[in-house]
Assembly symmetry: C2
Homo-oligomer: 144 residues x 2
């Protein structure tokens, strides 16, 4: 576990402590791998980790990534067919631009859009809990 992931490790431990959950070798391992990327699917991580840990089960990966979501370190996104687990440990809320050709994902944040969303909700008597904004198109390289 690299030194730079200490803060996230602490956050996980705090969540575990609050919910009578245990810290296992697998959870440490998966956290370390997870924090190295921005978005990853359970299967992709399964294959990635199989090289060093051939007996790590896919179910454990799913369970652990979902645990990270509960702990506020990850967020599940549904860009394509498989769930992408988004690393939100060191950044706040954000939305995505997705290239339908090469799969490139760009994260962005736009306060004006967020404010207008609240406005729309208020006009309709809603109180927003979460939202999902995804822009699909072609990135600069795939456009040509």
């Amino acid at each position: 576990m690299p030194n730079k992931h200490v803060k996230e490790m602490e956050a996980l431990k705090e969540h575990l402590g609050k919910h009578q959950l245990k810290l296992t070798r697998q959870r440490e391992l998966i956290l370390s791998a997870f924090l190295r990327q921005e978005h990853i699917t359970a299967e992709a991580m399964y294959h990635q980790l199989a090289k060093s840990d051939p007996h790590l089960g896919l179910a454990t990966i799913y369970r652990t990534l979902n645990l990270f979501c509960d702990a506020g370190l990850a967020q599940a996104r549904h860009f394509g067919t498989q769930t992408q687990y988004d690393n939100i440990s060191h950044k706040g809320h954000h939305d995505h631009l997705i290239c339908t050709d090469c799969g490139k994902i760009v994260e962005f944040e736009n306060c004006d859009i967020e404010r207008l969303q609240e406005e729309v909700a208020t006009q309709n008597g809603f109180i927003i809990k979460t939202h999902r904004l995804e822009l699909y198109g072609l990135c600069s390289r795939c456009r040509h």
Copy 2:
């Protein structure tokens, strides 16, 4: 087929003609049922139509609703677990507010948001083809 659905029927016929597809009793039937609602799942329509047509297959419903998507009459949305087929025949693009408590869905359109989306895309070198904006929360009734 009610008289008021003639325009959509024509749109479907045009799509069929352009793609060497045939007009069948099932397609007419499913179109008629589809146009009576704003959003519906394939299974919901299956059960709805089973009352009058017990032999209409679920696969045919799926195939036909996907055909409507190709023809521009419908749009597939993924609010929950099942695909919702959105009737866009008589309205343009729109986004949704969804109550997580009672499932109520409100459609809205906000040009300012759309414009800001284009801005974000341009800043990142993207050209938007489609987008998805969903606001999840509590409606006025479920808030209390």
